[in-house]
């Protein structure tokens, strides 16, 4: 199986996207501490191996676009990339993080296997170009305001810069104020484009800004959103997992705990058959 422009899906020596089994991209929203990252990576790697899924660790070193300026942002670029490298080396797994400027793209690409373009910034050409030139695999989140065709055009822009290792990620569309809906037609269109297609099950459950200065969300909807996406057809599932979501420093309303994560993975295994 190959993706658009002949990309084979090679992300890491031990992981090729698109081959069964399904790939799971998961980790804490914010890299709150090295210990948190290691605990989540340990549990999820073990769980994915047991259930037969590929596993990629994700976490953010800087939540640069929080709803409010009075909230934590994370450990910062230098410390965060160091922790990501530690996890990458200790577990021999690929790692993903998000970048907000061309400079961050270049620095993050020196460590991570996948650089992620945040949804709000999905059509920022300078950022897309810097990601493309990094040579690393790029995941582009679809803006809540953007059509799937708009996202595909962004991917074409990156490919024109010579980097065809591209993942398109659906995370919900604005549906009035403080609300998102997942339009599952988008997954069909994105996959039909030939690019690798990812579904973000936890951000899709957000109610942006509905928490009086912070994002709220419908955590209990995450399992069903994920199951539906897997049923429609995706190449990877993205979700944020925390040891104690209620105490998380970001996205506390949508991150899931280990018990829920295991339940989700068992449910989607029954759909994919692995």
């Amino acid at each position: 199986m190959t993706f658009k422009h002949g990309w084979t899906g090679d992300i890491h020596p031990k992981l090729t996207l698109g081959q069964k089994p399904l790939t799971v991209i998961a980790g804490p929203c914010m890299f709150e501490s090295r210990e948190l990252g290691f605990e989540v990576a340990t549990r999820l790697k073990t769980l994915c191996e047991e259930l037969g899924f590929n596993y990629i660790f994700k976490s953010s070193y800087d939540k640069a676009n929080r709803t409010s300026g009075n909230t934590a942002r994370g450990p910062g670029l230098e410390k965060g990339l160091g922790w990501l490298a530690d996890i990458q080396n200790s577990f021999q797994i690929p790692v993903l993080t998000d970048v907000h400027t061309p400079e961050q793209a270049r620095e993050a690409a020196s460590v991570v296997d996948i650089v992620q373009v945040p949804a709000f910034l999905c059509d920022q050409k300078n950022l897309l170009k810097a990601c493309a030139l990094s040579g690393k695999t790029i995941q582009i989140k679809k803006g809540q305001h953007a059509s799937p065709e708009q996202l595909i055009a962004c991917a074409d822009y990156i490919a024109a810069e010579g980097n065809t290792k591209i993942l398109l990620c659906e995370r919900g569309s604005s549906f009035g104020y403080n609300n998102l809906v997942v339009d599952y037609r988008n997954l069909v269109l994105m996959r039909r484009s030939g690019y690798a297609t990812v579904f973000d099950g936890t951000h899709a459950a957000q109610l942006p800004g509905a928490g009086a200065g912070q994002s709220s969300g419908l955590r209990d909807m995450v399992p069903s959103l994920c199951a539906a996406a897997v049923a429609v057809g995706i190449d990877a599932l993205f979700m944020e997992v925390h040891t104690n979501p209620a105490k998380a420093l970001s996205d506390a309303s949508t991150q899931v705990d280990f018990t829920t994560a295991e339940s989700i993975l068992r449910r989607i295994k029954s759909i994919t058959g692995n």
């Binding site: 640069a64 676009n65 929080r66 709803t67 409010s68 300026g69 009075n70 942002r73 907000h100 400027t101 061309p102 400079e103 709000f120 910034l121 059509d123 920022q124 050409k125 300078n126 950022l127 803006g143 809540q144 305001h145 953007a146 059509s147 799937p148 065709e149 708009q150 595909i152 055009a153 569309s173 604005s174 104020y177 403080n178 942006p208 800004g209 200065g213």
Partner: protein, 230 residues
């Protein structure tokens, strides 16, 4: 343009259209342009710095569209005002750099953001909120469409900052690749309605379309209603 009383037209957006800038030479105008057209869907030739500086000579002041803290710091000699596009209205580093610039800041509400949440972005400016002009550019209404919600204007005005209405965003095609757009979307026929709305809410500034002329009727309506302030 000040942040408090004097209304003005803002000319240009991602790229400057010479004829339109000429049209508005006769009235108070601010040139709005980036040095780097980073989020444009049009054939992407960023306005060369030399041309940008040349045009400063006949349309002033200059409002620079910025997307990174580095642009704000490095290009400070090139601009008099800053424009932060809606997509960046929550980017803490951009807002912080803008606040430290000492310049007037036009902060656009993201089309994805609830009107009540723009106050969080204003709060990120700290003391610089006194220099903020809030820009309304519509709310996402399905793919590739925006609506102007009068409730959003009401909510944003309560924050206490001067306001601008972005006619360019409200009447431009969004998402060039979207092929299923109904024909009536992004129609310039709505210019008059938007200008009337701006006047009804006592909005101080208009940002003009960049790829076409605003109709003479709409310009005259704005100028006649505002002439005592011009």
């Amino acid at each position: 343009m000040s942040t408090t009383t004097s209304p003005a037209l803002l000319v240009g957006s991602c790229f400057v259209d010479a004829s339109q800038a000429q049209l508005h030479k006769k009235i108070p105008a601010t040139l709005r342009a980036p040095l780097h057209g980073s989020n444009s869907w049009r054939v992407g030739i960023p306005l060369p710095e030399q041309l940008f500086m040349e045009r400063r000579g006949w349309v002033q002041p200059v409002c620079l569209t910025v997307t990174t803290p580095e642009q704000i710091k490095n290009d400070s000699a090139s601009y008099d005002r800053l424009f932060i596009p809606g997509e960046f209205c929550r980017q803490g580093d951009v807002l912080s750099a803008a606040a430290q610039s000492g310049k007037t800041i036009l902060l656009e509400r993201g089309a994805f953001l609830a009107p009540s949440d723009i106050v969080r972005a204003v709060e990120k400016m700290g003391e610089a909120r006194q220099r903020v002009v809030l820009v309304e550019a519509g709310s996402s209404f399905g793919y590739s469409d925006r609506v102007l919600d009068p409730r959003a204007l009401e909510v944003m005005m309560r924050i206490g900052c001067p306001m601008a209405l972005n006619l360019n965003a409200l009447t431009s095609a969004i998402g060039a690749a979207y092929e299923h757009r109904p024909k009536w979307l992004s129609d310039s026929d709505f210019d008059i309605a938007f200008v009337r709305t701006a006047l009804a809410f006592n909005i101080e500034h208009l940002i003009l379309p960049t790829q076409r002329e605003l109709s003479e009727e709409a310009v005259d309506l704005w100028l006649s209603a505002r002439k005592e302030n011009l």
